[in-house]
Amino acid sequence: MTEASLIVSLPLLAAVVTAASARVARPVGLIATAANAALAILLARRVLAEGAQVTHLGGWEAPLGIAFETDGLAAVMILMAAIVGVAVAVQASDDRTPRSATDPGAFWPLWLATLGAMNALFLSADLFNLYVTFEILGLAAVGLTALTGTRRALRAAFDYLSAGLAGSLLLLLGVALAYAAAGQVDLSVVPALTESAQGRISLALIFAGLAVKAALFPLHFWMPAAHSSAAPVASALLSALVVKAAIYVALRLSLDGGIGAEPLRVAMAAAGAGAMLWGSWHALRADRLKLLVAHSTVAQVGLISLALGVAPGAADSTLWHAAVLLMLSHAFAKAAMFLAVGRIAEELGHDRISGLNREELRPGAAEFAFAVAAVSLIGLPPTAGFVGKWVLIEGLIDRDAWIWVALVFAGTVLSAAYLSRVVSRCLRGGPHVAPGARRPQWRAGDVAALGLAVSALLLGLGSALPFALLEITVT
């Protein structure tokens, strides 16, 4: 048994078990999430020690069969999903957290299916296989969105699923055209696709589908509603991980030379810049905390997309390494933020920004976690966000791409502006708080949010590890 095959089968098996019996869902879900994290670490260690590996499933070589490519990038993404997953599972396992109105145990199978699909997606080296993993991911993510069972959430889930289906069908159309143009659909065909006009149209369609899934401006219309009306654990997963899956595929294609095609790169960078401005503007205007955080995801995804757009492919690694680090940083910080927002809303009974501090309630661990996560998202030292932006700007300066540097700075300033709307209120203590004000009790969610926020912080210090992993590619 290799780690790769276990890490894709174990979550799926656990999902079946948890779907079959709500009684054992929680322990099985927790154990499976922990086991997945352990497997992810083993996988990363193996990649570090033995280099990248290609596994032909069933022993059938690539054009006919499907291959798993376990390289450094895949290992980093699997680790990211595993770490965020552990934190989210910790919060979800808290008995006292208000549950979904529809089905108390429904979170676990959906989450484990998400995890399994994501692991499969990160490893897969086949376009059609990627389409199928996207479908699992999309369905499970929609289930997570609808978890609360409120009308708002259900409507958001419907819009999400129909937009997501349209996106995956565009992806499928692109794959079909790739098959028509090149006769095969494994990832090694991508360089050949850039040669012919048909292949280039196919890449354009695939990219358009990915842009819907990644909520890339201007195709993000479904996302703020979905991310802000879902349950906190679900929002954390959606925003931190599910969106990243599409970005990851875009990166993978770009590394293989596909999106390296000039118009797509320009489109990604321009869409990223637009997303940063649009998302920030709406985050500045949002009156609800979850909406602010959701719009901030639009902006942050824009930043990552900008980094990918200006990265000229595998040959020059600086910029795409920066993009991956920004993805990691955003995953940890945004998940922490959503979990913290969940806890804040639970204590306050609402999530209006104007009512964030009340006289009878002192700021607690969740507010602190939010602030730390905000520091990482803004990109202050020594967080991972800082290292990512630093490397990105360094790379951009090397290319004399001053317009992009200015845009990155503008995005940073804007993110500082909208996040400080919250942080300044979170930190407000002192005379505004009545002397006998209570402090929120510690819950599993606080631990999870703090842990993730601190991970984002520590990742900045230990950023050499992901960089070392990213150097490992299939030769």
């Binding site: 048994m1 290799t2 790769a4 095959s5 276990l6 089968s9 799926l12 098996l13 999902a15 079946v16 078990v17 779907a19 079959a20 596994t55 032909h56 499933l57 069933g58 022993g59 059938w60 054009p63 006919l64 069969g65 499907i66 979904s100 529809t102 089905d103 429904a106 199978p109 959906l110 299916a113 399994g116 699909a117 499969a120 059609f128 296989n129 199928v132 993993t133 479908e135 699992i136 369905l139 499970a140 929609v142 289930g143 609808a146 978890l147 259900l154 159309l173 055209l177 028509a180 143009a181 090149a182 006769g183 095969q184 012919s196 006009a197 048909q198 149209i201 196919s202």
Partner: protein, 299 residues
């Protein structure tokens, strides 16, 4: 035969256009089902009988039934066309342009065709003689496994959402004699399709869909004991398919060292065993997707 193709596709386009534009729900769904049957015919014309079988059973049958069920619950189409003329024209231009580009792109390709020779060369080692089954259950079994996972997740999602279950009594008396004939037939046909899948068109999906059709007839006739225990059993059966497939994949790795790599010589047995369990599981899943879970007391 070209003339037949042209007439077929014209009819298909007309049906699809009607399905998407008719203002009466039932008529629109009827057009959709007819379009589904025409598409099954097209697949036959395109020498894809496996897909045609699945399309007829799933695409036209189950999907049509699902639409009918929802149409009754959601009610008629309300509100006129939205967005105004300019948006509609813009959409038409965009869609038309993309459609033309697609036609140009697809028709202009005559790229290499590496798959048929590869499949032919490895067909013997795959254990089955139907190339489509070989691709589905052996060469690209990982795709199929994930596809079963999609079914399982959809099932979990529908169970979580808990839509109102189908009430069979409304149709009971009429459907009863029909069901008495259909159900045994469906079981026979499903068994045949499953076994035949190894050598000729047919396989788990088609068999499962046919079986699901039979079971649905049973349910609609009010014969099936739709008690909670049965539904629970169906749920477990539906989920079991994924568990069996993943378990088989891991067991194969234990035996041969390759994930999803069946032991040499025993491929056919493995494939038939997996397909058999998938047939039952797909039938149960499709049934539950249609009927929905039992309504919970708190709702």
């Amino acid at each position: 035969m070209i003339a037949f193709d042209i007439v077929l596709t014209l009819g298909l386009l007309a049906c699809a256009a009607m399905a998407l534009t008719l203002r009466d729900r039932t008529a629109s769904i009827a057009a959709f089902v007819v379009a589904g049957l025409l598409i099954a015919l097209s697949w036959v014309r395109l020498a894809a009988p496996d897909v045609a079988l699945a399309e007829a059973a799933i695409g036209a049958g189950v999907t049509g039934a699902l639409f009918l069920r929802s149409a009754r619950r959601i009610g008629p189409i309300t509100g006129g066309p939205v967005g105004g003329m300019s948006a509609s024209i813009a959409a038409a231009l965009g869609a038309g342009g993309l459609s033309a580009a697609l036609f140009w792109a697809f028709a202009g390709t005559s790229g290499p065709v590496p798959y048929p020779p590869l499949v032919a060369a490895n067909l013997e080692a795959s254990g089955v003689t139907n190339p489509v089954t070989a691709v589905l259950l052996n060469f690209r079994a990982w795709d199929t496994l994930l596809e079963i996972a999609v079914l399982a997740v959809a099932l979990a999602l529908v169970v979580m959402l808990g839509p109102a279950p189908v009430v069979p009594r409304a149709l009971g008396e009429l459907v009863l004699p029909f069901a008495r004939i259909v159900v045994p037939l469906a079981i026979l046909v499903a068994g045949h399709l499953l076994w035949q899948g190894a050598t000729a068109p047919g396989g788990a999906f088609q068999a499962g869909a046919v079986l699901a059709g039979g079971m649905l007839a049973l349910v609609l006739a009010g014969i099936g004991p739709a008690g909670e225990r049965i539904v629970r059993g169906a749920l477990l059966l539906g989920l079991a398919g994924l568990a069996v497939f993943v378990g088989a994949a891991l067991a194969a790795e234990g035996l041969t060292g390759r994930f999803l790599g069946y032991p040499a010589g025993a491929e056919k047995a493995w494939i038939i065993a997996i397909e058999a369990s998938l047939t039952l599981s797909i039938a149960a899943t499709l049934c539950l997707l249609f009927t929905g879970p039992v309504r919970r007391p708190h709702q």
